[in-house]
Symmetry: C2
Subunit: 217 residues, 2 copies
């Protein structure tokens, strides 16, 4: 097990698996496709990661910690900069979304694939609940708490349903299906996360205010 000192080949396996799982889902990818893509033998994936399911989990977990840290830092940072009332809804949602532009900024395509994989998992009735909760619930509940403070008097159910709407909009964005490209005749692009968040932040912030705060600013 080389989890501690990852070899170049085991990293390549993770990279290829990440991309293929994101595109075709767990069952749509074979270990042989992954091995071929990584330029290694079929058995190497099993050697490093065990069963196919273990590889899938390894891929899903690999970038989760770093991502959660970036988002938590963004939340803390906007909390530190805000007054005694805490950050407002826009600032909180901004902190939730902007770190996801990491892919564009670093130029690391792996991040783009990883985010698409999150979309696959989050939208799946089979994987969704099991896998998302373990890695992301803690962070999400922190954001919901921050939102609760920004929306005094909000009912619990309203907060959760609003988060659900935000999460859905985000998930479809991360999936990068290319549908908006077609629908808009090329005016919008799935790959343009910046534009997506520029619209998603005011859109969802207004939604939260309307539902949780009677539309008051």
């Amino acid at each position: 097990m080389s989890r501690k000192t990852p070899s170049p080949k085991s990293e390549r396996i993770l990279d290829v698996a990440e991309e293929l799982f994101a595109q075709r889902g767990y069952d749509g990818v074979t270990l042989r496709q992954i091995a071929t893509g990584a330029g290694v033998d079929v058995a190497l994936a099993s050697y490093h990661f065990g069963k196919k399911l273990d590889l899938f989990n390894a891929v899903f977990q690999r970038r989760a910690v770093e991502l959660n840290e970036a988002r938590l830092n963004a939340l803390r940072s906007c909390q530190d900069q805000s007054g005694p009332d805490g950050p407002d809804v826009e600032q909180i949602i901004e902190a939730f979304l902007r770190p996801l532009e990491i892919a564009q900024e670093t130029g690391d395509q792996g991040w783009t694939h990883y985010l698409a994989l999150i979309a696959y998992v989050n939208n799946s009735p089979y994987w969704g609940q099991k896998m998302m909760s373990k890695l992301f619930d803690k962070l999400v509940l922190e954001f919901i708490e921050a939102l609760r403070r920004a929306l005094p008097g909000a009912r619990d159910e309203d907060l959760y349903w609003c988060y659900h709407n935000l999460s859905g909009a985000l998930t479809l964005t991360l999936a990068q299906t290319g549908r908006i490209d077609k629908l808009s005749g090329g005016k919008c692009q799935s790959s343009d996360f910046r534009a997506a968040y520029d619209h998603m932040i005011p859109f969802t912030a207004a939604g939260f205010r309307e539902v949780c705060n009677g539309g008051k600013r």
Copy 2:
């Protein structure tokens, strides 16, 4: 080919395929599972529908026409009842979403599975663009046109990105992953479409207004 006069068994095959594809995706389901679930021989699916991919398409198309008609009727109806300015944003989104409660109303579980299948397809980078566009773009563009009239002066890109956010929220709802159940400690339920739409309509309407109309009512 019994597409014209569907036999009871071929309908059962479609029903089971619909449910399994929705849960596990195209690659996560075998023809044998479908046949077993339907209580028929493995080869009967091929006899009626051809290849596995053709069966998948048959399932996806089966309820699309009826669904589109219901949604178009809802749009026409709210357009007929509205004044010279046409229906407002809430009314249009209501017409877009409420027909999807058909599953609960008819008590036909098949509709629930079908909607989850739409979620799977719409969120998939692989299937998404190809399959959704053909069956749903015409209807979606009609709704976007109606929204444009309700939001005078809206920029094209803003309209499309707002629709994208609505579509994402809807998709995650249709997927029924059970995540909101866990996250909310049981206060909200994935299966409660009514509650989902009750929140989604004001949420997304406020978002459209904020982004496309500077928040004006």
